[in-house]
């Protein structure tokens, strides 16, 4: 997030995009509701009538995969009507003329056709966003899990840049991270292109610094993203896969493909706390300690590094991840002599300028510190870009609306979108084991609009067969107007009974390689003999 969670309360306009916040990030949703109570306007952009819509001043139920058309049209209106922040645009940005030219065709009328919204609602939303003192954009997976995910985010950022809604309290472009430490995994360099602290592995001076600290050469060859690595396993070029703490055969788009790859690997090592579906495929399974059994840090979605503390001992012979990895490194001829995770942290901080000022000692006192925190006396950074864009100027992105990779057709007439529900968490490895939990949503449901259900004579609660080009699952139907006509929704929380990701598409975002979990074409049928 460019800004902090608590700032949302002070925003005067909240544009929440593709985020079922009340279910996925309930405590953040509290801040949003508080903002509304304090007078903020809330606009929710989501094809589904998510719970947050109840608190919204306007709901924009756009067709799936048409986000860019909407945001480009809003930017078009902001420029056309002279509503951009002239000082900010003159001093801190470059390329307004090019953007104006690029957006020429994105009239509200055109966007209305593409998105299914009214031109009037698009214009009003653009006007309100531009007029707000402090406008905050919040988005989650709905935006990034599309083949054009990166472009969606860029078209949103254009709006913030145009109106100067960056670098100030209560503004910004704010992605809500799904899992507790997605932010930290990226910060720590678990990305093929980046060493810790987002230092690029293709820069010789960066590699030189790490080579000196680590005493080993750092490869300059670019690494494979997870999605590409899966393909390379199937082609026989990647032979071994080592997975730490992730139930990948359930959570990945196009699960059967991932499973086939893991089954084909010469060596699969899985380090986890349960014998997950993925671990069951492994050649070697290493038992790990869970969050309550380790010391360490997590970094939340607002870049806040916080202390995780060991409250109990791990069961049996299970060990903390950090210890397993250091002991294994020793077996591979590279001894690591850390006695405590704080020593690992000190190494990270010493090598990463954005984390340099964060230590366990400071974390004890501060209730967490938000990076960038470059020195021991720096208070941390609640919002980024306070002194203007990082590179001196912010650049507008010229991106176009592209329809989703897989469109519905006669054979597969419905669009399936996937997402999360409250009370179950990701693949269910943790919540699936808390006995109270399955009661709330006892099994997977296919949410379907009443009109679509009536057309197929499907009753609420009836079991149906859902088929895509890649697979088939059986699931009970929940008839609800939360789903718009033509669109059905499922989560991927119940791998035992319904394996949602058998259906989804393996098309990916061209830039980040994020799989398109959000939309694929399916057919829904009554079970025969009923």
């Amino acid at each position: 997030m460019s800004n902090s969670i608590r700032e949302m309360e002070d925003a005067s306009f909240l544009l929440v995009v593709g985020s079922n916040t009340t279910e996925t990030h309930p405590v953040i949703a509290l801040r949003m509701k508080q903002a509304v109570r304090k007078g903020a306007r809330l606009v929710v952009v989501d094809p589904r009538k998510v719970e947050l819509v109840r608190y919204a001043h306007r709901w924009l139920p756009l067709h799936i995969g048409t986000d860019i058309a909407l945001f480009n049209a809003m930017a078009h209106v902001v420029i056309r009507d002279g509503l951009y922040n002239t000082t900010y645009v003159r001093e801190k940005t470059e390329g307004l003329a090019a953007l104006e030219e690029h957006l020429k065709g994105y009239t509200p009328e055109y966007a209305a056709q593409v998105t299914g919204l009214s031109a009037e609602a698009i214009v009003q939303t653009a006007h309100e966003y531009a007029a707000a003192d402090r406008a905050s954009i919040v988005y989650t997976l709905g935006v990034t899990e599309h083949t054009c995910g990166t472009h969606n985010v860029q078209s949103l950022a254009n709006l913030a840049i145009l109106t100067g809604n960056l670098g100030r309290w209560g503004t910004g472009v704010n992605p809500l991270r799904g899992q507790n430490n997605v932010q930290g995994a990226g910060d720590m360099g678990c990305i093929p292109t980046d060493l810790p602290g987002y230092q690029k592995a293709d820069r010789p001076e960066v590699r030189a610094k790490f080579e000196e600290a680590w005493g080993r050469p750092i490869p300059s060859r670019p690494g494979l993203t997870k999605v590409t690595a899966v393909d390379q396993v199937l082609k026989g070029r990647v032979k071994a896969v080592y997975i730490m703490g992730e139930n990948t055969v359930v959570s990945d788009a196009h699960a059967s493909h991932t499973r086939a790859a893991l089954e084909a690997a010469d060596l699969l090592v899985v380090q986890d706390i349960f014998l997950t579906e993925t671990a069951q495929l492994a050649h070697v399974v290493l038992p790990a300690a869970c969050y309550a059994e380790v010391d360490g840090t997590f970094t939340n979605t607002e870049r806040r590094v916080q202390r995780v503390r060991r409250a109990v001992e791990p069961p049996g012979e299970a060990k903390p991840d950090w210890l397993i990895l250091s002991e294994l490194a020793g077996r591979l001829g590279y001894p690591m002599a850390y006695r405590h995770p704080s020593e690992v942290w000190d190494e990270v901080a010493g090598l990463s300028p954005i984390l340099a000022g964060i230590s366990y000692r400071r974390l004890e006192q501060a209730g967490g510190l938000q990076w960038p925190c470059p020195s021991g006396d720096h208070p941390g950074t609640p919002y980024l870009h306070a002194d203007g864009p990082e590179s001196g100027k912010a650049y507008f992105s010229l991106v176009h609306h592209v329809p989703p990779a897989e469109l519905p057709d006669a054979e597969f007439p419905l669009v399936l979108t996937t997402g999360r529900r409250r009370s179950t968490y990701h693949t269910g490895t943790m919540t699936g084991r808390a006995s109270g939990f399955k009661l709330l949503v006892p099994h997977e449901l296919l949410e379907m609009n009443p009109t679509d259900a009536a057309a197929l004579s499907i009753a609420d609660g009836e079991e149906v067969l859902v088929t895509s080009r890649r697979g088939q699952v059986k699931v009970a139907v929940k008839v609800t107007d939360r789903s718009p006509e033509g669109t059905v929704f499922m989560s991927f929380h119940f791998p035992d009974s319904t394996h949602t990701n058998l259906l989804t598409s393996d098309a990916r975002d061209l830039i980040t390689d994020t799989p398109e979990l959000k939309a694929c074409a399916v057919r829904v049928e009554k079970l025969s003999g009923r």
Binding site: I5, H25, V27, L141, P175, R177, G178, Q179, N180, N181, M188, C190, I191, P192, P196, A201, F210, W214, P219, G223, L224, K226, A229, R237, V238, A240, V241, Y242, M244, G245, E246, F274, H283, V285, P287, A288, C290, Y291, T297, F298, T299, N300, Q306, A311, P315, G316, E317, D321, L325, E327, L328, R331, L332, V344, V348, G367, M430, R433, A434, G436
Partner: protein, 131 residues
């Protein structure tokens, strides 16, 4: 024991209640600048039970004759190290891919990519959800 909720990226403050070496419950942490005493039902009710689940993995497993069987850490480390080294030596370091966890600590994630880059010699390191 003050700590952080293991579920979503909000990172609410959690107080784990411990009795006789076991977690007996969780309470909101009013000192947390993130949540200031709020928790959702996941944080409140689902953050402790799984920790003591009978289904937790308690020892390493090695596949023998198609079945995962109990093994010692010695055996597990030995096998993983030997196979990784053999694959690296015959097919090159880029024949190995490592996927890190959005649920593990920063320190574990850091060591995972250090294992990939410094020890094995590949940039084939990624984390699960790229979101």
């Amino acid at each position: 024991m003050p700590t952080v909720c293991p579920y979503c990226g909000t990172g609410c403050g959690l107080q784990l209640l411990v009795k006789g070496g076991r977690l007996v419950g969780a309470a909101p942490d009013f000192a947390s600048p993130v949540s200031e005493g709020s928790l959702c039902i996941k944080g409140q009710f689902a953050s402790t039970e799984f920790v003591h689940s009978g289904q937790r993995l308690t020892h390493p497993l090695i596949r023998r004759n198609g079945m995962l069987q109990k093994a010692s850490w010695e055996q597990a480390y030995g096998l993983v190290a030997e196979r990784l080294a053999a694959i690296r030596d015959t097919c090159g370091p880029d024949a190995i891919a490592l996927w890190s966890s959005a649920r593990a600590t920063n320190e574990a994630n850091y060591l995972m990519q250090k294992l990939a880059r410094a020890v094995i010699g590949t940039n084939n390191i990624d984390n699960c959800a790229r979101t």
